[in-house]
Symmetry: C2
Subunit: 358 residues, 2 copies
């Protein structure tokens, strides 16, 4: 088992990563093991991870809430209903535990942020995406019909337990989606890790636990270093994590979520690579390596079913287009990125024309 510290002053916490470590959950909980815990999960995860869930429920004063899988649970109604369940639980002190993927983590974290103005929560991510991304940063939110993640908080968990064995029950498409963020972490901050991913991506797709443990550990370490500098996303350093996301989010929107987040980000990263090359920063060979590893992970790097114009229109709605001025994270080389503003629209159009339907 490995332990990564996320250093955020009095809000610091540990991420435990390993295979089968949920068996030791009660020991890892530390002082929280005595606290009544409301476990939030979704129906799919509850079925797939029944043994782990039952083990978590063996202790006294634990109760489980099963929400419907999917973004719909991350709504004002879902939030209100989770608060009702907390009230029904009738405990003087309480902690929440998110057992599932990003939706469960977002909903649970936001409820923990607001209930009694903040109660502790533990994150047990069961998707690769949640293990490598949502584990770090404390961002949690619910959706509004007009915009994703519009209502939320920064509320750091007390600990994260990322058991890579839970990934065995993850649908293959979701595993690949998580790999997009893993590759991103190599590109933005760690060339040696990127090299390792190139070598081991096939084993990751075969669910090799050692490889997955490396991916989760290194990803969390990279993201923790960035978030430690910019907890509340103010100084712009946290923006590095948005590599591939400016176009990726627009692709998600324009495709009406036909692509998973990871798939859209993979296409967005391929576009960001092209843009970096055209701006004279990134070496075309390195851009090719990024594209190749995305493809090895089974991720798309083109979207022939999307019009460039649709993506441009969606981009104007994106919050990253602060005050109308675009901002892109651009790769200088594998392992180093920088923030660039006011990229000429024609350049963006050329890149999109190349990777999407004209």
């Amino acid at each position: 088992m490995r332990e990564i510290r996320v250093e955020l002053g009095e809000r610091s916490y540990s991420i435990f990563v390993g295979a089968g470590i949920l068996a030791e959950a009660d020991r890892l909980f530390g002082p929280l093991a005595q606290t009544p815990v409301l476990i939030v999960t979704d129906e799919g995860v509850a079925r797939a991870q029944e043994a782990n869930l039952n083990r978590l429920l063996e202790s006294l004063n634990r109760r489980v809430v099963r929400v419907a899988p999917g973004e719909e649970s991350k709504s004002m109604a879902g939030f209100s209903s989770l608060i009702d369940r907390l009230v029904e639980f009738e405990q003087d002190t309480v902690a929440l535990l998110a057992f599932g993927g990003g939706v469960v983590g977002d909903l649970t974290g936001f409820a923990a942020a607001c209930y009694k103005r903040g109660v502790p929560w533990i994150q047990v991510p069961t998707t690769l995406l949640a293990q490598v991304d949502a584990s770090v940063g404390g961002k949690c939110a619910i959706n509004h019909p007009r915009a994703k993640n519009l209502v939320g908080a920064f509320h750091q968990p007390r600990m994260v337990i990322a058991d890579v064995e839970t990934l065995h029950t993850l649908p293959a498409r979701e595993l690949r989606s998580g790999l997009a963020e893993v590759i991103k972490h190599g590109v933005i901050a760690d060339a040696a890790f990127f090299d390792r991913v190139e070598q081991t991506i096939g084993r990751a797709l075969q669910l090799d636990l050692e490889v997955l443990e490396d991916y989760v550990t290194t990803s969390c370490r990279i993201k923790a270093a960035v978030v430690g500098e910019d907890e509340r996303d103010i100084t712009g350093q946290r923006a590095a994590l948005n590599y591939g996301h400016t176009l990726g989010h627009a692709i998600e929107l324009a495709a009406h979520f036909r692509y998973t987040h990871g798939e859209a980000i993979a296409i967005g990263m391929a576009c960001a690579g092209d843009l970096s090359v055209r701006l004279g920063l990134l070496n075309p060979v390195d851009a090719g390596r990024i594209e190749a590893v995305l493809q090895s992970a089974g991720l798309p790097t083109r979207a022939a079913d999307l019009e460039a114009n649709e993506v441009l229109a969606a981009m104007n709605l994106d919050k990253k287009f602060l005050q109308g001025a675009n901002r892109f994270v651009i790769a200088r080389e594998i392992g180093a990125v920088e923030l660039r503003s006011a990229i000429p629209r024609t350049l963006i159009e050329e890149v999109l024309a190349d990777r999407l339907a004209g």
Copy 2:
């Protein structure tokens, strides 16, 4: 105009107190004067303070949301609807402004805490209670049908503009309620201020602006000093502000809110005084002075319509009864309090029997 600084590191802000200072609001807003502002008020305040509200709305990019007066607006439905109004406002950057009493401040502050994970807000309290209490501390919350203030956040405003002239349109009963917290601030921290309140309480009831400015300024200064030591109510220092509140909240609950918050707190303070005397700390003469000034403010110090047993039952539901062990703020003298745990139940019963119906 006076300025009180609430020192909370990067969340520090100023409270401006004066008569007629809303006329200068745009200058006080500083950088926020250029930001689109959604003003939240209630229908009663909007009518009573029409001229001030219209002046605030003169600037570009301001819009007003009027909610129904009363606790019902501080609900999940009220929160959700305010978020909808923020979305309809369709601004890239936005600030909220709470123009009203405690309900408006709580709802607005909580929406500002959550919208886009936190946007700036300005507090313009128009009741004495909100000026002397809610102005400091950043606590904001909505109610749950089963408990008040159950869902909330700590979200400091960017500034508070407390214009004592707005108190001219305040119903007399609400003015008296605010005075209960003013008197409390003297009791817990400032004997000289308590002396001044004894001398000037009659003028305050006549809405003497100079006296009210002193009350608001000194109250904010006292509360700011306490909150500065214990922003998130963790170390227990903030507990001093709960003088009279342990029994006061129980009285509010047991009386099903027949008493205003201030009235219940006044009875609670009289009880806390008795308890302090019986514990051998407070001088009976000083307890008498506290009761006398509460009475001069037109506040009740007894509740013959309430059974002691009902209040004891309500107390067991109160969050201040941490883990079943009671905690009381006890006065040592006028201007100094301390926290005492595990006060014998018989002592509490005796005090209640004396001030309520046996």
